[in-house]
C-alpha cells in the first residue's frame, strides 16, 4: 500500500512537545512544527470525545501578536488595523474578540485571524503558516504601532461541552464568560489570557499561557478525566463539520471574503454607507460584491455515498464529467455526521442548498448535495 504524505524538513517544536511525546502522540510536520496528529485513542475517538466531553489541543504554533499604538490609545491601534481588515475594530468592546481577515489589493484573503480589544492594545492570533508574512505585513503598514510577536507563550485550546467544567476546576470565574469574551486569569499561578472561542463548533476556550508554565497548565487540565488530548487530525474533522475555513485550503489570495461566504464577518461600519466605509485593501471589489453578489460561493457539500471526497476533487454539473463547475477545498469523513463532509466553491447558479453536483474521485463521478453549513449544530455559549 502507498501512503500520500508530506516531506519532512527541519521542524520547530512547541512548549508542549515533551507532553505530546509522553502521551504517546504520533507527530507530523505541520506549518514548520513537529505537531501531534493523533494520540493513541485515534482520530475518530478524539473527535467524538471533543463533541461529547472535552478535548485539549496544542495550538501554540499559531502566531500571538500584540499591536499597540505608539500613542498608547486603543483607538489609534484599532483604526490602524482597520486599514488592513474589513472589520469594525474601533467598535469592539474591551474584553471582546472578533473574527477577521487580512485582504490584499485584489480583494483576496492573505490570512484569517482573531482580534481582541485588550483595553489599551490589540491581541491578534494568526495562522502558523502565515505568521511571518502577517508580521511583516503589519509592521510595514502599522507604522504608528508597535507590533510584537509573543514568542514566549503557548496557546492551548480546550473544546467541548465539558470544557467549562474542566476549566472551572482551575478558575471558577470562567462560568461568567460568554462566547468571544476575553479575560485575564491565573491558572495554577500562570498569568493567562482566556478567550471563549475555538475551532470545533463546540463551546470552549483558547488559553494563552507563558511557555514556561504551559505543560503544568495542560497537565492540570488533563487531570480531569473528561479532558483528553486531541491531535490535529480531529481538529480538522471538527472544524470541517463546523463549517469553519482552513486558510490555504478553503480561503487564500484567490478567494474574496464574499466568495468565501464570510460576509457575516464584515460589520455595518465598514460597509457602504457605514461610518468608516471601505478603507481596507481590495475594498472596491469587496464592497462591490456585497452589493452585487459574486459569480461563485463557498458551500457545504455532502457526498451521497460513503467515500470521502477530498480537497482538489473537481466538481461537475453532470455525472459524465462534461461541465466542470469548481473544486472541493476541504473534505474528510465526519465522525459526528457519520459520513463524509466537504466544502468547495460552486457557481452561484449551483450554490443553492439541495443542488446535486458530481465530484470526480478516482475516475468516478460521485453525487454530492449542496448543504447548509455547519453540518453539526454549534453550541457556542452566547
Amino acid at each position: 500500500m502507498g501512503h500520500r504524505t508530506d516531506d519532512q524538513t527541519a521542524l520547530e517544536t512547541t512548549p508542549l512537545h515533551a507532553l505530546h511525546l509522553s502521551l504517546g502522540a504520533r507527530m507530523v510536520p505541520f506549518a514548520g512544527y513537529d505537531m501531534p496528529v493523533q494520540y493513541p485513542a485515534g482520530v475518530l475517538k478524539e473527535h467524538l470525545h471533543t463533541r461529547t466531553a472535552a478535548g485539549l489541543f496544542d495550538v501554540s504554533h499559531m502566531g500571538q501578536v500584540m499591536v499597540r499604538a505608539k500613542s498608547g490609545a486603543y483607538a489609534d491601534a484599532a483604526l490602524a488595523l482597520e486599514t488592513l481588515v474589513p472589520v469594525d475594530i474601533l467598535g469592539l468592546k474591551e474584553g471582546r474578540q472578533r473574527y477577521g481577515f487580512f485582504t490584499d489589493d485584489n480583494g483576496g484573503i492573505l490570512d484569517d485571524l482573531m482580534i481582541t480589544n485588550r483595553g489599551d492594545h490589540l491581541f491578534v492570533v494568526v495562522n502558523a503558516a502565515r505568521k511571518d508574512a502577517d508580521l511583516a505585513h503589519m509592521k510595514a503598514h502599522l507604522v504608528d504601532c508597535d507590533v510584537e510577536l509573543l514568542e514566549d507563550r503557548a496557546l492551548i485550546a480546550l473544546q467541548g461541552p465539558r470544557a467549562e467544567d474542566v476549566l472551572a476546576a482551575l478558575w471558577p470565574d470562567v462560568v461568567d464568560m460568554k462566547f468571544m469574551d476575553v479575560c485575564d486569569a491565573l491558572l495554577h499561578d500562570a498569568p493567562c489570557i482566556v478567550s471563549r472561542s475555538g475551532y470545533s463548533g463546540e463551546d470552549g476556550f483558547e488559553i494563552s499561557v507563558p511557555a514556561s508554565q504551559a505543560e503544568q497548565v495542560a497537565r492540570a487540565l488533563l487531570e480531569d478525566l473528561h479532558c483528553q488530548p486531541i491531535g490535529l487530525g480531529a481538529r480538522d474533522s471538527l472544524r470541517l463539520e463546523a463549517g469553519l475555513c482552513l486558510y490555504g485550503n478553503d480561503i487564500d489570495t484567490t478567494t474574496s471574503p464574499i466568495e468565501a461566504s464570510l460576509e457575516w464577518a464584515i460589520q455595518r461600519a465598514r460597509k457602504a454607507g457605514g461610518e468608516r466605509e471601505g478603507g481596507f485593501p481590495g475594498a472596491s471589489r469587496i464592497l462591490g460584491e456585497l452589493a452585487n453578489g459574486t459569480s461563485r460561493r463557498r458551500v457545504g457539500l455532502k457526498p451521497e455515498g460513503k467515500a470521502p471526497v477530498r480537497a482538489h476533487a473537481k466538481l461537475f454539473a453532470d455525472a459524465e464529467g462534461r461541465t466542470e463547475l469548481g473544486e472541493v477545498t476541504s473534505g474528510t469523513f465526519g465522525p459526528t455526521v457519520e459520513g463524509p463532509v466537504a466544502m468547495g466553491y460552486l457557481p452561484t447558479s449551483h450554490a443553492g442548498a439541495g443542488t446535486q453536483v458530481f465530484a470526480e474521485v478516482r475516475g468516478k463521478f460521485l453525487p454530492m448535495m449542496v448543504s447548509a453549513l455547519p453540518f453539526i449544530t454549534a453550541t457556542y455559549k452566547r
Binding site: 500500500m1 501512503h3 500520500r4 475518530l44 487530525g233 474533522s237 467515500a307 470521502p308 465522525p335 478516482r362
Partner: protein
Amino acid sequence: MLKFTAEHEWLKLEGDIATVGITAHAAEQLGDLVFVELPEVGSQLAREAGAATVESVKAASDVYCPLDGEITEINQAIVDDPSLVNSDPQGAGWFFKLKLKNPSDADTLLDEAAYKELIA
C-alpha cells in the same frame, strides 16, 4: 504459508489462491478506517496495480495487488464496516482472494521474519 510485501500487504497462500489483506502495522499506521473500496470479482490485476482503496479520517491510501492474478472473492464485510480492518487486520479484515497466474511468483515475496525486520 504466509507472505508479505514491502508495501505492507499480507498473503495467505493455499494452492494457487492467495487471501490478501493489509498488515497490523499498516492498519495501525493508517488509523481508523472509514471507507474501503474493493476490486470487482473477475478483474485481472498485475503485480503492483492498484487493487483497493482505503480511507482513514486523514487520507486515502492505495492497496496494491501483490502478484499477477484474478480476483475470485472480495470481503464485503470490510466495505460495510471498515473498522474490521483495524480490529482484526490479519483475520476478519481480509480484503480479497487472488487466483495467482504463477503461484511460484510468491517465492519472491517476503517471509514473516523479513517483513518484521523491515518494519522494525
